[in-house]
Amino acid sequence: MAKYFFRRLISMLFVLLAAIVLVFTLMEFAPGDPVMTMLGEGGTAEQIAALREKLGLAQPYIVRLGSFIWGFLHADLGESYRSGLPVFSEIISRYPITLKLTFGSVALGILIGVPAGIVSSVKQYSVFDRIFTSVSLFGVSAPSFWIAMLLVLIFSVKLGWLPPTGTYSFEYWILPVLTMGLQTSASIMRMTRSSILEVVRQDYIRTARAKGQSERAIIFKHVLPNALIPILTVVGIDICGFLGGSVLVETVFAMPGLGKFILDCVNFKDYPAVLGGILWISLNCVVITFIIDMLYGVVDPRIKSMYGAKKSKAKAIITAKSES
């Protein structure tokens, strides 16, 4: 198990480093000169030169990349062009909202999606199954911002039960979490159902029946544990998807989260903040993926010995299912 852990760890660090280099390099090509943005039209040549010097923009690419990586390791992501505050603190002050939204939604999704998927697969082709399958298909086909607006329309505008924007107290969180929660419960339900159906036709289930095991015990002791891996994969993908895609829901509900922050900074051409924000989200996703990989090892003893060969097969089929 330790070997598996370290292998994945090295892999994770590599991906992170590559991401930093990639994103940093891409931002080099971003349009607009930050110096001009900050000084506006009236800057004199000396002010321009001085500011350029101060921001370290005159140095060659490699030097700036190096000092950025160095800073990254020390949680120093530079200063925001817009506010002048350290990017890191700007990110940290907004991140909790995105985190709460993400994990709250995924928790809701698992709570609804897994039981629904189990019932749906056990009673295949029943009325229940057909309804749930259709609803979940709807859930994965609908953009989150639309679901959000529909919920606002129904619960805020028409019924007046819940507030449409803000994050001041618990009731402000209900609609946002519901929006993303419904979305992810749809994808979790679909994956649970198909995974269970796949497992149920395996030979070892027949063996369990031949031993005299009851259907109920078969579901809980044999089917579910084996069906878990693809479900885990979907949960991981959805968490990462939400960390990046929460911007949509944050926009509709005017929540000051990290997603909305990055978007605003892009519009303002505040590149250090954009850079820092994007890399922060990437870092979190890489860590989440790593944790999920570790969980695979716990759930499936084969993976411990095969260093994740099985996992990549499960992932290859469902990867790139992004949020929306």
Binding site: S11, F14, V15, L16, A18, A19, L22, V23, L26, M27, F29, A30, P31, L137, F138, V140, S141, A142, P143, S144, F145, W146, M149, L150, V152, L153, V157, C240, G241, F242, L243, G244, G245, V247, L248, T251, V252, G259, I262, L263, V266, N267, V274, I278, I281, S282, C285, V286, T289, S312, K313, K315, A316, I317, T319, A320, K321, S322, E323, S324
Partner: protein
Amino acid sequence: MKKRKNRNGQLHDVWRKLKMNKLAMISLGVLIMIFLIAIFAPLVIPYDYAYQDYNSVLQFPNASHPFGTDNFGRDIFSRILYGSRFTIFIGFGATTVAATCGIILGLMAAYFKKLDNIIMRAMDVLIGMPGMTLLILIISVLGPNIKNMVIAISIAYTPAFARVTRGAAMSVINQEYIEACSAIGANDKRILLKHVFPNSMAPVIIQYSLAAGLSILLGASLSFVGMGVQPPTPEWGLMVSDGRSYLRTSWYMSIIPGLAIILVTIALNYLGDGIRDALDPRLNK
């Protein structure tokens, strides 16, 4: 000679199975209809999508404006019909580019061991970033317009195609008939094109239909936050955003474009599920 006949026989089989799936066929019909609307949009729409009639501002859906009008007096029905162009272009354009690049990369990674590591590590980096984040990053560098949306979304989905192709190709390559081809002197390119590629395609086709739906959703999301097409383009995601301020009274402005998005995506999903079931050899016994 025989192999080609087999493949056409297989194709015929798959199509026959697919035809039996009513939902998939309805979805196919819907998609074809949307394609046609997109192509013939200017001929089909009752009003010019950009025409602003200040006498008919914010009208609830009625006889002359089946989907109502927006705050500029523009007919929403026409805008939705015309907007199908963007949806189709972005969704299928980006997915096709992603599929092409992904398939090439995946085949190379599967066949040439030396390239495998590099290619897949690069794909890992791209996958490590959530879709929306990657898209915002690319658009912020390139600028928000439809061409860049297609580029950005293609980049986001290329790794998925690369992975699926590589996986399928590797299992084909491990089979002995590939070794047999090599033994009789076929060169790499020929083996790749004539044997590995066609036999790896099943999961890729499924991935295509999934990715097309997701691309459409991503494209709409980008436009919604202003990182995609710009006003007054009648792109459905942008239309949902346009209607936000009027949600209280003219909610149809936002809700209806969203329904259009959902319609296309659901159709793609049903079709994808149908193709997957038709391709599954086990479902026959």
